[in-house]
Amino acid sequence: MTLATATENREMRRRGGIPGLSVAIVLSALVGLWTAAPAAAEGERIHIELIVSLLSDSPGEIDPRAARLAAKLERKIRFGSLKVLESRDLDLGIDDVGGTKLPNGRAVQVKPLLVDSKGALLAVVLEGSMDTQLRVKSEHLVVLGPQKHGDGQLVVSLEPHF
């Protein structure tokens, strides 16, 4: 082996190492992006306004805390009065569970499953009534019920904000 050939060999080995290093860098970047993307989604949080109301056929007042709910409901559901029993603000991340106990002993639970450009996918369980998943945009009002309670009916409303 001549000196020139040895030099050439070293040069070739040096050159051969650069593509390998580039590939490693690119792969590392891809791995970083791959692991980073879910983390960004998991960081999403949803604020849900949960209201438990009691509807009654008897004429009466509409609780001002649920004026917007009443205005939307009265076009679809007939009732005489609406009283807010509980109003709760839930701040949930993906797969976090939030909810409340109803006056009749049953529970309502909400779990955000996904948030993306199309909206949020929420899993909601109203114990004794339904198990549902809804794809909603921000400020889309969801009303679940009723459940008989005393002389009236319990209704749960959820309004997500994200």
Partner: protein, 176 residues
């Protein structure tokens, strides 16, 4: 459903609605599972009536012509029988003994089929529309609205989707 609504739905089914009316009906169908059920019922009824029409094998012109020709051939023999009979010529002529068997019974099958089809059409036409039964769901729902899955353990639930108002109502019918 009112009579006007039913007429509009039937017009939609028959493709008789104009652009704006058809668009309105399609929006209502997208929002109302009851309306979609009514449309399906209407389609089923129309399909049934269509099969009844196909079941009745109406004789074509060639067959009719052939039948008259056969009658013309048999007439002289019938006339001879009538002339020869001393008593009750009308009773004899009502059942011509010389007429072939197939001539007597040729029309029996289509007449019977027509009678059966008519009777069935009357029954179907008088069948009251399906009662407005709300949805009983326990499955994924491909409604295009907010609800993607709903399980009520078989209990009836009414789903009201108002996309323009950003509102979805899930209403248990047996608690209402």
């Amino acid at each position: 459903m009112t009579d006007d609504e039913r007429l509009t739905l039937e017009a939609y089914h028959d493709g008789e609605l104009g652009g704006l009316a058809r668009w309105r009906m399609e929006r209502r169908l997208a929002r109302s599972s009851q309306l979609r059920a009514e449309l399906d019922e209407l389609r089923n009824q129309r399909d049934l009536l269509g099969t009844l029409d196909e079941a009745w094998d109406e004789p074509g012109p060639a067959e009719v012509e052939g039948n008259w020709a056969a009658i013309a051939v048999a007439l002289p023999a019938i006339d001879a029988q009538v002339d020869a009979a001393p008593v009750s010529p009308r009773a004899e002529a009502s059942e011509p003994a010389g007429a072939p068997e197939w001539l007597r019974w040729r029309w029996a099958a289509p007449v019977a089929a027509a009678a059966a089809a008519l009777a069935l059409a009357i029954v179907v036409g008088r069948t009251p529309p399906a009662p407005e039964v709300p949805l009983a769901a326990s499955a994924p729902i491909a409604s295009g609205g907010a609800v993607r899955y709903l399980d009520t353990a078989g209990r009836s639930v009414m789903v009201i989707e108002e996309a323009q108002e950003d509102l979805t109502i899930l209403w248990m019918m047996d608690e209402a």
